[in-house]
């Protein structure tokens, strides 16, 4: 009996270790594989010049600009909407049919494949609203796609803030809005940021929804009404149409490095914020 318990414990530890190592191993392998094939292509001209011959040669500057423009605009639209909805659901309504419907809607949307959002964006933003293939159409579509994630994570983060903070603020004569902005949101910010980062990750790597709504032109965009090609789409087209595998890997390497860099910066900012607020 006792021996069996010890054996079970050892097996469990072994299995848990193995899963952790395997997970980390797969991640490292993918990263290493992409960087191994992509890094040799990288140079200053690769990121500072426009592509020529459909991307067979030249750089990928327009796709870098396109990726960041699309992602930043999508986050700028989805973050206030998502956080606002979360605040409304948690602080301004009592639990009831309305909150259940909104929450159910958000959860259902979170599970919809991105291509469906692409199709919707194409029909609604590109055609019906006449925005054409553009950064704006793409960003609106991506915003709709990541909104449920931001709502869910923000809602959980806000709910996790102890009620005692709210009571202290109310008891000092704070209004609900003052209480939300000064006592609740600062404590919920790390959790909210997690949701925003998840949304950013999905936007930056999205292809299907983007091709439908932002197009795939290789011209450098000059306004939000211009079409763009993102790095993920560029990578997909280069590989899919056999234009240039080395440049595809180079693009993938830049994409991966960008995502890592943004995550590191966000994490660093968060640590600084937490250090000041605890």
């Amino acid at each position: 009996m006792n021996n069996r318990a010890i054996v079970a414990h050892k097996v469990a530890v072994g299995v848990l270790w193995a899963s952790a190592v395997l997970t980390l191993g797969i991640l490292v392998f993918i990263l290493a594989y992409i960087l191994y094939h992509g890094l040799p292509v990288l140079s200053w001209s690769f990121i500072s010049q426009s592509p020529t011959e459909m991307g067979r040669s030249g750089g990928i500057l327009p796709t870098i600009v396109g990726t960041f423009a699309l992602t930043i605009l999508a986050l700028a639209i989805a973050t206030p909407l998502g956080v606002g909805t979360a605040i409304f659901l948690t602080e301004y309504t009592r639990p009831g049919p309305l909150t259940r419907v909104v929450r159910f809607g958000a959860e259902s949307l979170a599970g919809v494949p991105s291509i469906i959002f692409g199709l919707f964006g194409f029909m609604f933003f590109v055609i019906y609203l006449g925005l054409g293939w553009s950064i704006l159409s793409g960003a609106l579509t991506l915003a709709a796609m990541i909104l449920p994630t931001i709502i869910r994570t923000s809602e959980e983060a806000i709910r996790a803030v102890p009620d005692s903070y709210r009571e202290i603020s109310f008891a000092l004569g704070g209004t609900r809005w003052q209480t939300v902005t000064r006592a609740v949101l600062p404590s919920a910010l790390p959790g909210i940021l997690t949701g925003v980062m998840l949304g950013m990750g999905r936007s930056i790597g999205e292809t299907a929804a983007v091709i439908f709504t932002a197009g795939s032109t290789l011209r450098l965009p000059t306004s939000v009404t211009d079409p763009v090609r993102t790095m993920a789409v560029h990578f997909y087209i280069l590989a899919r149409e056999g234009i240039s595998m080395p440049n595809a890997y180079g693009t993938a390497a830049i994409l991966v490095i960008s995502i890592l860099a943004v995550n590191f910066v966000a994490y660093w900012l968060m640590q600084r914020f937490i250090a000041r607020h605890s």
């Binding site: 102890p162 709210r166 009571e167 202290i168 603020s169 008891a171 000092l172 004569g173 209004t175 404590s187």
Partner: protein, 255 residues
């Protein structure tokens, strides 16, 4: 004591229900200006409910029902013209557990004044220092105002909670078992502090500890199962209680 004016706080025929549970039964009680009233009673006697009703903190809850009237200076606290946020500013509340907001010592005390529109640094510095001095915390923290308030000891955190309330210059301070989580020395410091503060504020202290009521209160009220059993000068209540239940409680037969 009274100068003929209305009492600072008054409850008139107050009953309070949480769903089916009746927490207060027809309570009528007056607190005169600069009075230090101690409300004692065992757990579940409705003491906390009374405080939260005065400070309108139970507004947030669902399924509650209140009948009767609560007044401050003769004005209906639940009247249609009354602004709950203004009520809460004038009636400060210190909670049972010392909970700092997750920010610096300075920002904790400045939280209230900032809510009410104080933004000038010099002015904030002044209210923060005054609040901390009045709460007898200044000397211990003056060199580390930017440190997180979470690093203070429990007793210091509770005095910080009091400083936070004093900084909005309330007229009444309600304290809900403020020493229940503290060691005896910290408890004594808070009790001393209350005696000093009563010169400038009307204070209502809730405690489940009759010894504390005997030490601090000038006037005590005994609550039992939502009912105000008796009230009077502390001396009289502790030596010659009128009600059998009061006698049982202060002699430690239950509670």
């Amino acid at each position: 004591m009274t100068n003929g004016g209305p009492p600072k706080l008054a409850a008139n025929g107050l009953s309070y229900h949480y769903g089916d549970l009746q927490a207060l039964r027809n309570v009528t009680l007056e607190v005169q200006p600069n009075d230090l009233l101690t409300i004692m009673g065992p757990t579940g006697s409705g003491k906390t409910t009374l405080l939260r009703a005065f400070n309108r903190l139970n507004d947030m809850l669902t399924g509650t029902r209140m009948t009767g009237r609560l007044d401050m200076d003769g004005l209906d606290l639940y009247g249609p013209e009354t602004d709950p946020a203004e009520v809460r500013r004038r009636i400060g509340m210190v909670f049972a557990l010392p909970i700092p907001l997750p920010m610096s010592i300075y920002d904790n005390v400045a939280y209230g004044p900032r809510l009410h529109g104080v933004t000038r640094k010099a002015e904030l510095d002044e209210v923060v220092e005054k609040g901390l001095r009045d709460a007898i915390l200044w000397d211990e923290v003056k060199d580390r105002l930017v440190d997180s308030a979470l690093r203070l000891s429990g007793g210091q955190q509770q005095r910080l909670s009091i400083a936070r309330v004093l900084a909005v210059e309330p007229e009444v301070i309600l304290l809900d078992e403020p020493t229940s989580g503290l060691d005896p020395i910290s408890t004594l410091r808070i009790e001393e502090l209350l005696k000093q503060l009563r010169e400038r504020y009307t204070i209502v202290l809730v405690t489940h500890n009759p010894q504390q009521a005997a030490r601090v209160g000038e006037r005590v009220a005994f609550f039992y199962l939502g009912e105000l059993v008796e009230t009077g000068p502390s001396q009289r209540v502790f030596t010659r209680p009128l009600d059998r239940r009061t006698e049982d409680y202060i002699s430690g037969r239950f509670g």
